[in-house]
Amino acid sequence: MGKTVRIYVMGREYEVPEGLTIMKALEYVGYRYIRGAGCRAGFCGACTTVYRKNGDYKLYSGLACQTTVEDGMYLVQIPFVPAEKPKYEVSEIKDVEDILRVYPEIARCLSCNTCTKSCPQGLETMDVIQSILRGDIKRAAELSFDCIQCGICSMRCPAEITHYHVAQLVRRVYGKHYLKKSKELERRIKEIEEGKYQEEIERLMKLPREELERLYKEIRR
């Protein structure tokens, strides 16, 4: 074995090769994931891990599948985030007032910024909530776009806000009511409904392979 580092999984010490992700290090020492692993690539938010480091008071968080182990890490994974997800009808939600009816608790934001500091995606989470409060739906939607909904913000918020759910709603509101609808799309759908392409495609479906190959080359010229 080359160089190794010492990690502490829920307090128990293990020695693992350096350069592994936290996820692979846990597997290396014998854990088999049921919870705590989804995409294994930084897209699903299943693997949130909180940790402290030797001699450092800070509580860090990261994605186990995207964070390299360091010597002296005290690790625990958060398997599940309890969070209420209210039901709503997006077509009825258009502005801050509507959003506040679904998530009144966002008005409790203390601007402590703990959410931002805990975000493994490095998003400006508090600014998302603050933007909503002042009615800037666009900014809130854009700032939160890269959210993978791991929920760690919601575990740490003293105002008990569930940022990742709130942001989901805001993005849908933005996508539905603020982004303009595509005219080109509508036009094409109408053409299809009128059967404009049906016949041509049915014809292609019956063509022998050589004929199709010829057409395929032709459209590439």
Binding site: G19, T21, K24, E27, Y28, V29, G30, Y31, R32, Y33, I34, R35, A37, G38, C39, R40, A41, G42, F43, C44, A46, Q66, T67, T68, K85, K87, E89, V90, F145, D146, I148, Q168, R171, R172, V173, Y174, G175, K176, H177, L179, K180, K181, S182, K183, E184, L185, R188, I189, I192, Y197, I201, E202, L204, R209, L212, E213, L215, Y216, I219, R220
Partner: protein
């Protein structure tokens, strides 16, 4: 963890040739050249990697060894050990797989008149933990004035080497625009211009700019919106409860057996119809390749369906994505989206030479990279012995301006930054990675699963678990489309089926018969499937494991 000295030297060459390459138009290969490079270098053409299936409807057909191993396996549940008389969930529609196809199917089954209480989703991990959430690049639809569903049709067929099932391709391309419209109405934040029209990019093998995206989180954006909608409607999802076997009544599918991975309890589900939406098989690591796929992509659906007599097709071809990360070690195999090439980054060898058009169809592009590394030996070696070629990402900002990478490829940029590599300044190292299950369970245009003697009653399938839509090679952006179009069709068809059919008996008779056939073949009894999850535990630990309780 920036680049070590040796790799730096090659990067300098890449930098030297960059200006010259910016103006360079690289020729695309002719169909003949493509055939040739595929035969010589594509992993699919290595005869020792495949063998004939020895059992079931596809007996005699070739498939990767890893797949055949699973098909020629005993069930993980002993039919004698389960009590099917006590039903735990009694619903009209059971959907197996809570990824993209499963969620879309649930929504459309409901839109088609099934009450939400009559729909149940079983899934292996959490709702949405799937390949669908990982898609970055985009989704195809011919909505631009210079494009048409006819051109889209031809591209899909050509990309699939004309082996596709034509009626499925027709459904795919004709339904594409209305799927995007549905997304728009749900509030998916597609990249748009000021008038609301979609921004499109070229994709490998497309003759028009047809790729629609939501930054490079397209799959995540679509998945989280449809999941939110399913949650709003109150559709029940049993998480960490994969299906391990289908249940049948005289050949008709009537339910499934689920297994709670946390408590080990099994659940008996009775349903009028079952939709299979279990996705692909990347985690089988075909030929030892690393994969881009999520943790649960283990071909369970293929195995379960095959045991009830479903036919498989195009299982001999596997998609290797040309650009998986090859450095640093922590992210080896993870996807570097095709959009990186779509935006202008060229594959470049050790000497700084461009050697292939950046947007050949995937199999061709992958073969060209393998040739560069292993025949021409112009790849770059990493400290752990991986070999790859450069993808010259700084070109993107030369072409589209500063800031493009951070805004359009923020997922990629973030991934590399986490490991100390700034892809706006330095190229990234790539090598093909196992990406997509081209073939799968055969369906008809109503998403009904086909067996040896036609439709298998009560069983529908959609998404990556199916075969036929993409022939022998899927083009980028067509599988997000696939799971939406066929998820929708499956939901509608199954809802309709539920209206005119009752419930059936619950048996594992088909499994018992399958086991008899396995016995005749002499398959070793310790070979079991479905796999459910891969096992990545360290070897040293496994050697000293006691299974005590």
């Amino acid at each position: 963890m920036s680049y070590p000295e040796e790799m730096r030297k090659s990067i300098e060459k890449v930098e030297e040739t960059r200006d010259e390459r910016l103006g360079l138009e690289i020729n695309r290969m002719s169909l003949e050249e493509r055939e040739e490079i595929l035969k010589k270098f594509h992993p699919d053409y290595r005869p020792e990697a495949k063998r004939e299936i020895g059992i079931g409807p596809n007996k005699g057909d070739l498939a990767p060894n890893e797949v055949v191993d699973l098909l020629e396996s005993y069930p993980i549940v002993d039919p004698e050990e389960v009590d099917l008389s006590q039903v735990d969930y009694d619903v009209s529609l059971l959907i197996i797989g809570g990824g993209g196809a499963g969620t879309v199917a649930a929504l459309w089954a409901h839109y088609s008149g099934l009450p939400v209480e009559e729909i149940l989703i079983s899934t292996k991990l959490r709702h949405g933990d799937s390949n669908s959430i990982m898609a970055q690049g985009g989704i195809q639809a011919a909505d631009k004035p210079d494009d048409s569903p006819v051109l889209h049709y031809l591209d899909v067929m050509g990309g699939g080497h004309f082996a596709n099932k034509p009626e499925l391709v027709r459904e795919l391309v004709l339904n594409a625009p209305s799927i995007l419209k549905w997304h728009e109405d749900l509030g998916v934040m597609y990249d748009k211009d000021e008038d609301g029209n979609m921004l499109t990019l070229p994709g490998g093998g497309t003759c028009r700019n047809r790729l629609h995206s939501a930054k490079d989180y397209t799959g995540m954006e679509i998945m989280r919106v449809i999941r939110d909608e399913a949650r709003n409607l109150g559709i029940e999802v049993l998480e960490f409860s994969p299906a391990v076997e289908l249940l049948t009544d005289n050949g008709r599918v009537t339910g499934a057996l689920l297994w709670n991975m946390e408590t080990n309890q099994y659940y008996v589900i009775r349903a009028k119809a079952v939709i299979l939406a279990t996705g692909g098989f990347g985690r089988l690591h075909i030929q030892g390749y690393p994969t881009t796929n999520h943790y649960g992509a283990t071909a369970d659906g293929l195995v379960m369906a095959y045991r009830v007599g479903a036919r498989l097709r195009d299982m001999d071809s596997v998609q290797y994505h040309p650009t998986g990360a090859a450095y640093p070690e922590q992210i080896v195999g993870l996807l570097v989206t095709e959009k990186v090439r779509g935006l202008g980054a060229q594959p470049v060898n050790r000497e700084g030479e461009a050697f292939v058009h950046p947007l050949e169809p995937r199999d061709v592009e992958a073969a060209a990279i393998i040739r560069e590394c292993y025949e021409r030996r112009l790849g770059i070696e990493t400290p752990t012995g991986m070999v790859g070629v450069w993808l010259d990402t700084p070109m993107i900002e030369e072409i589209h301006g500063k800031g493009t990478i951070e805004s359009k490829l923020s997922a990629m940029y973030r991934m590399y930054s986490r490991f100390g590599i700034d892809m706006t300044q330095d190229p990234i190292l790539v090598f093909p990675t196992l990406h997509y299950q081209n073939g799968g369970v055969e369906i008809d245009e109503k998403a009904r699963v086909l067996g040896e003697s036609g439709v298998i009653d009560g069983l529908f399938a959609a998404g990556e678990v199916t075969g036929g839509v993409h022939g022998k090679n899927r083009l980028m952006g067509n599988s997000l489309l696939d799971y939406n179009v066929f998820g929708k069709i499956a939901g509608e068809s199954a809802a309709k089926y539920c209206k005119s059919n009752g419930k059936g008996r619950l048996t594992l008779d088909h499994v018992i018969r399958y086991m008899e056939a396995l016995k005749k073949m002499g398959v070793p009894e310790n070979r079991k499937s479905p796999l459910i999850l891969p096992d990545y535990r360290g070897k040293k630990v496994l050697m000293r494991t006691l299974d005590l309780f």
